[in-house]
Symmetry: C2
Subunit: 252 residues, 2 copies
């Protein structure tokens, strides 16, 4: 039963009974097409983009066409949000002088952070390219407004940071859309929020939670750069999954 | 130039020069295929899943096959993470008694939260189905471990909550993969973390940041339920995008 519902074709007979596209389940229509099923090729494309997404630091100067940027932003806005609060804003920065000021803020924090690493790691660290703010034609500052939707957002009563998680989901949507468009994204997070607020005129109550560099790249690596240079390995997924209770390994 | 790089075909000539799949850019090979380009049909599939993803509260009892669940979890583990810290764990709960205990915690918070709404909204609120914990065959508790990767995670020096944003990106990956598989996801966030820790045996330093209900559904709605019932509208994207500085509307 359930396997039929994984949609081996975009228009399969629904094994579970009433499904009417765009309407709540009503009278029994076993022959009705399942709304918006995904073909095997479409499913493969979704997994392909999830696997091919990379954090990129090397950019070409070519501009990102407006229609592509528009589709990427729309993908972000289609992200889930707690209580449908849609707490995000997208600030598109192309101006070179503004990007230079942002780059300076990041460079300062990069040097400060380097002091925390032991000698063995510091060499690696200092050789890593941690941002491409002056190379990529666009810096997209993504913000989170915790006040949007008023004081009692549905579903946000016990875990207020669900607003931030919503904005992060919007970022992941944009990252995947960009990858499908052939546009590279690098997420820069080494800055003090108050510094970025000052440069971009962002109000105090709004959090600039990401600086995304967007542009074309000569190269999407097969594996993450931090894995390739030996900084950290990808963990074995089976060690991260538990069954029924924390610490109970998954059956193999 | 740039438009060529949006990949009108999966194997296009790269206009920017050296690109070698899986290797850093090296000698000039203008005729080399761009690694992992996306065809128009693949690009459409990516946008389709982003638009078709919904937060679902109505589930069928049919089990989710293990191979599908495995692919969904792998999609989560392919999410981006700050400094490649991979701060997530995935706790798969199928046991009915455990789900009943989780449902009780959520129901308690649902009633408490209802007291905050004015009369005009409370009627709507109390009629909303906010969780399907006892209906969906799987509850996936997603956790975030802020200590993973040690005290100095690369890129996390100034914005510590980038760990939580990483875990949220993993959730969005799983949500999209599930949608492509025809599996519905409902994100439940009405609970106190300490209560969920107690039920699932989660250590104090690990945050249970989401309870995701997973299962098949009779219906993926065209628009979010909260929009359909008039709780909140989708905001106009153009009002959320600024250019160069906060508050400067985008050119139309």
């Amino acid at each position: 039963m359930a396997e039929t519902a994984t949609f081996s074709d975009a228009r399969v007979t629904n094994p579970h009974g009433p499904v009417i596209a765009g309407e709540p389940a009503g009278e029994s229509r076993n022959d009705a097409p399942v709304a918006l099923g995904f073909s095997p090729a479409e499913k493969d494309a979704v997994y392909k983009v999830i696997r091919a997404r990379r954090d990129i630091r090397v950019f070409l100067p070519d501009p990102v066409p407006d229609d592509i940027l528009g589709r990427i932003l729309d993908a972000g806005h289609r992200g889930p949000s707690v209580g449908f609060m849609q707490p995000w804003n997208f600030l598109v920065v192309r101006d070179q002088e503004t990007r230079r000021r942002l780059q300076e803020l990041v460079e300062r924090e990069r040097v400060i952070a380097g002091q925390h690493y032991p000698d063995s790691q510091r060499d690696y660290y200092l050789r890593l390219k941690v941002e491409g703010l002056m190379d990529a034609p666009i810096t997209l500052c993504v913000t989170n407004d915790p006040t949007r939707g008023g004081p009692h957002v549905l579903g946000r009563n016990t875990i207020p940071e669900t607003d931030l998680m919503s904005t992060a989901c919007a970022i992941e949507n944009m990252w995947l859309a960009a990858r499908a468009e052939g546009v590279a994204v690098g997420w820069v997070s080494m800055y003090r929020k108050e510094d970025v607020r000052e440069v971009l005129g962002i109000p105090d109550h709004v959090d600039p939670v990401a600086l995304l560099t967007l542009g074309f790249t000569p190269h999407f690596p097969d594996i993450p750069v931090l894995e390739r240079v030996g900084w950290r390995k990808r963990l074995d997924l089976t060690t991260l999954v538990y069954e029924e209770r924390w610490g109970t390994p998954v059956r193999q």
